[in-house]
Symmetry: C2
Subunit: 495 residues, 2 copies
C-alpha cells in the first residue's frame, strides 16, 4: 500500500513512524480560506443522517463553510424522528437546509452518508440511483465497501467514492471543533481514503472535508484497510477485549479474596482511570516503569500469560473481519433485531457494583494493579503486532489500538462503566463487543489465570519484544500530532 | 422438502411424527443377506481415514459384508500415524485391505470419506480427480457441501454423492454393532441423504451402507438440512449451550452460597446425570412433573427467564451456519492452527472440582435442581422450536436436539466432564463450542439470572407452549425406534 498522495491545495508533510514513512496533512482554522478552492465546483454538501457523527459533522461543515456559498443540507427519511432535533440545530425545511434524504442526495455534489451500517446496506440501491453522475459519495467508515465485496458488487462507476474517518465519537468531533475557535488545532484527527476518483478532485474534497470538520492531523489510508482495522479494533482492545478482560479479572480478584468493590477497582477502575491516563500522557512503557521491582515481576508474568491467548482470539477476529464474516453477521443481526431488539448488558452485579464505586471514587487513589496492567497491555500489544503483520500503517495502528482507547473510549467508560459504553455504541460495534468479549473472558480464564495460579513458563524474548517494540517511538510521534487539549474532559456530558 | 424416497430392495415404513409423515427404513441383521443386491456392481468400498467414525464404519462394513465378495479397504495418507492402528485391526497392506488414500479412492466403487472437515476441504480437488466416473462419494456429514457452496463450486457431475450420518460417536457405532450380534437391532440410528444420483443406485447404496454399519432405524434428510442441523446442533444444546449453561450456573450457585462441590453438583452433575437419564427414559415433561409444587414454580421461572435469551443466541448460530460463516470460520481456523494449536479448556477450577465430585459420586443421590432443569430444558426447547421453524423434519430435530444429547454425549460428559468432552470432539465441533459457550454464559448472566434475582415477568403462553409442544409426542415415537439397550453404558471406555 502506497501512503503517498498528491494535493495541489494543501501542504503534505512527510513523517517517520519507526522505520516507515507516511504523508500527512495538518489541519487548522488558518486553512479555512482554502476550502472554497478545495471544494471547487461544489455547491451543496448533503449530510445524510442525524447520527452522532451526522449532527457533529453537519454543524462543523456549516460553520467552516460559512461565507463560501457552499450549502450544507441535512437529509433525513420522510417522518424521521430526528427531524425536530435537526431543526433545533438550525437545519430547517424553511431555510432550505433540511430535506428528504434521496432528494438531498440527488441535489448534492457531495453526499456524506452517516446513517447506520445496516441502513446503508439496506438502502444502497436507492442511494446509488439517487446520486448524479460525477458527484461524490462520502463515508466515515468502510463498512459499505465490505458489504459490497461480500455481494460481489461495486460502487457505481460514475461517481467518486471517498472517506474521512474521525478517530473519535461524534460528540467529541463537535466539542473539540468548538474548542478550536480558541485553540487553533483542537479537534479530532481523521484518516482519509480515496477509493474511486473519476473527476480527479477526490483527494482535495476529502482533505477539505477533514479540515472543515476540524481535524488537526489527517492520515492517509485505504478504504479496505480502514474498515478492517476499524471493525477489528472495536472487537479487540477498544470494546470487546477490554470488556472481556475486566469481566474475567473481576471474578479472578474475587476468587482471590477481594470484595466486589475491590475487585471492581482493581479491574475496571484501574484500566479506565490511571492506566489510561498514563498511556495517554507518557506512553505504554511508562506503566511498566511506574512499578517497583515486585510489581514489575507480577506485571511481566501477567503479560506473558496473557499475550498468546489474547493473540489467538485477535487472530480469529481479524480473519472473521477480513473474510467478510463479521459484516455478514452484522447484516443478519439487523434482520433479527427487527423482531428481537438487543438486550442491555450492564445489569449484572458487577456493573451495579460499578455505580457504587464511581459514586465514592477518589480519583487520585485508584491503584494500578500489575496483573490488570499486564493483561490489558499484553492484549493491546498483541493487537498492535497483529495489525503490523497484516500490513496496516503505523498511524492507523496507533489510532485503532491506543489513541482511540486512551483518549476517547476509556475516559468515557471511566465515567459510566464499560458495559454501558458498549450499549451506547453503533450496532456493528455493540454486536462485535457482545460476540468477542466472552471469548476473551473464557480464554483468559482457561489459560492465563490458570497459568498465573499454577504452572508458569517465562518467555523472555516475548517480554524483550515488548520492551523494545517500535510502537513506543511511533506513539511518541503520534502524540505530538494530537490536539493540544485533554480530550477526555470533553466526554463526560455524553449519553 | 419431500421426505419420501424409493427403494426396490428394502421396505419403507411410514411413521407419523406429530402431524407430519416421514418414511423410514428399519435395519437389522436379518437384512444382511440383501446387502449384495443393494450394492450390486460394487466390488470395493473404500473407507478413507481412521477417525473414530472411520475405524468403526470400516470394521462394521467388513463384518457385515463378509462372504459377499465386496472388499472393504481402508485408505490412509502415505506415512499416516494411523497405519499401525489400522493394521492392528486387520486392515493390512499384506492382505490388500489397506492402501494409500488416493489409490484406494481410484480403485473403489464407493469411497466413504471420513477424514476431518478441514482435510476434506483442503484435499477436495485431488479426491475428486481420483474418483472414477460413475463411482460414489459417501459422506457422514455435509460439511464439504457447505464449503463447496461458499466457493460457488459443485461435486463433479459424473459421480454419485450420498451421505449416511450415524447419530452417535464412532465408538458407539462399533460397540452397539457388536452388541447387535446378540440383540438384533442394537446399533446407532442414522440419517441418509442423496445429493446426486447419476446411476439410479444411490438410494440403495446409502440404505445398504446404513444397514451394514448396524443402524436399527434410518431416516431420510437432505445433505443441506443435515449439515445445517448438525453444525447448528453441536454449537447449540449438544456442546456449546450445555457448556455455557453449566459455567454460568456454577458461578450463580456459588454467588448464592453454594460451595464449589455443591455448585458443580447442582449444575453439571444434575444435567449429565438424572436430567439426562429421565429425558432419555421418560421424555422431557417427566422432568417437570417429577417436581413438587414449589420446585415446579422455580422450574417455570427459570424456564421463562432463559427461553428468549437462549433463543436469541440460537437464532444467531443458525444464521451463521446457514450463511456459510461457521464453515468459513472453521476453514480459517484450520490454517491458524498449523502454527498455533488449540489449547485445552478443562483446566479451570470448576473442572478440577469436577474430578473430586466424580470421585465421590453416589449416582442415586444427585439432585435435579429446578433452576438448572428450567434453563437446560428452555434452551433445548428453543432449539427444537427454531429447527421446526426453519423447516427441519421432526426426526432430525429429535435426534439433533434431544436423542444425541441424552443417549450419546451427556452420558459421556457425566463420565469425564463437559470441558473434557468438548476437547475430544472433532475440530469443527470444538471450535463451535469454544465460540458459542461463552455467548450462552454471558446472555444468561446478563438477562436470565438478572431476571431471576430481581424483576421477573411471567409469560404464561410461553410456558403453555412448552407443556403442549408436539415434540413430546414426537420423542415418544422416536424412542420406540431407538435401540433396545442402554447406549450410555457403552460410552465409558472412550477417551
Amino acid at each position: 500500500m502506497s501512503l503517498d498522495f498528491s494535493t495541489k491545495i494543501f501542504k503534505t508533510e512527510k513523517i517517520f513512524l519507526a522505520n516507515t514513512e507516511e504523508y500527512i496533512v495538518r489541519g487548522g482554522r488558518h486553512l479555512f480560506p482554502l476550502l472554497s478552492k478545495a471544494f471547487e465546483g461544489v455547491r451543496q454538501i448533503g449530510v445524510i443522517g442525524w447520527s452522532s457523527q451526522g449532527r457533529a459533522q453537519a454543524q462543523n461543515l456549516r460553520d467552516s463553510l460559512a461565507g463560501t456559498g457552499i450549502q450544507v443540507k441535512v437529509g433525513l427519511r420522510e417522518n424521521s424522528a430526528s427531524i425536530s432535533s435537526a431543526e433545533n440545530f438550525g437545519f430547517t425545511r424553511d431555510n432550505g437546509t433540511l430535506g428528504e434524504m434521496y432528494e438531498v442526495i440527488s441535489e448534492s455534489d457531495i453526499s456524506i452518508l452517516l446513517i447506520s451500517d445496516a441502513a446503508q446496506a439496506e438502502n444502497k440501491e436507492r442511494i446509488f440511483e439517487a446520486m448524479r453522475p460525477g458527484s461524490t459519495l462520502g463515508l466515515s467508515h468502510g463498512f459499505l465497501l465490505g458489504h459490497l465485496k461480500n455481494l460481489g458488487e461495486c460502487f457505481p462507476n460514475n461517481i467518486n467514492a471517498i472517506a474521512v474517518c474521525p478517530k473519535g465519537m461524534g460528540p467529541s468531533v463537535r466539542r473539540l471543533y468548538e474548542q478550536g475557535k480558541e485553540i487553533n488545532g483542537a479537534g479530532i484527527n481523521s484518516s482519509f481514503a480515496i477509493y474511486q476518483d473519476i473527476t480527479g478532485k477526490a483527494t482535495d474534497y476529502a482533505l477539505g472535508w477533514a479540515i472543515a470538520i476540524g481535524s488537526p492531523a489527517i492520515f492517509h489510508t485505504t478504504l479496505e484497510s480502514e474498515y478492517k482495522s476499524d471493525i477489528f479494533g472495536e472487537r479487540g482492545i477498544l470494546l470487546g477485549a477490554i470488556h472481556g478482560i475486566v469481566e474475567s479479572l473481576y471474578r479472578w480478584f474475587m476468587s482471590h479474596g477481594s470484595s466486589r468493590e475491590e475487585a471492581y477497582i482493581y479491574s475496571v477502575e484501574s484500566i479506565t482511570g490511571p492506566i489510561t491516563k498514563m498511556i495517554s500522557q507518557q506512553g505504554i512503557l511508562a506503566v511498566y516503569e511506574s512499578f517497583d521491582k515486585t510489581d514489575k515481576e507480577t506485571f511481566k508474568k501477567a503479560y506473558l500469560a496473557a499475550y498468546d491467548p489474547a493473540l489467538e482470539i485477535l487472530q480469529e477476529i481479524y480473519d472473521e473481519v477480513a473474510s467478510g464474516n463479521e459484516i455478514r453477521s452484522a447484516i443478519a443481526a439487523s434482520h433479527r433485531h427487527k423482531s428481537y431488539p438487543l438486550g442491555k448488558i450492564d445489569g449484572t452485579p458487577m456493573w451495579q457494583t460499578g455505580i457504587h464505586v464511581r459514586a465514592n471514587r477518589k480519583s487520585d487513589n485508584i491503584p494500578i494493579h500489575p496483573v490488570t496492567a499486564g493483561i490489558y497491555i499484553a492484549t493491546m500489544m498483541a493487537q498492535i503486532n497483529l495489525l503490523k503483520e497484516k500490513g496496516h500503517s503505523y498511524s492507523e495502528i496507533a489510532n485503532e489500538s491506543i489513541i482511540e482507547a486512551v483518549d476517547s473510549l476509556n475516559p468515557y467508560m471511566h465515567h459510566r462503566g464499560i458495559a454501558f459504553m458498549v450499549d451506547n455504541c453503533s450496532i456493528t460495534a455493540r454486536l462485535g463487543a457482545r460476540k468477542w468479549a466472552p471469548r476473551f473472558d473464557y480464554i483468559l480464564s482457561q489459560q492465563t489465570f490458570n497459568a498465573l495460579d499454577s504452572h508458569f513458563i517465562y518467555d523472555e524474548p516475548l517480554f524483550q519484544q515488548f520492551l523494545t517494540n517500535e510502537i513506543h517511538q511511533v506513539l511518541a510521534i503520534c502524540s505530538q500530532l494530537r490536539p493540544p487539549i485533554d480530550i477526555s474532559l470533553h466526554q463526560i456530558d455524553i449519553g
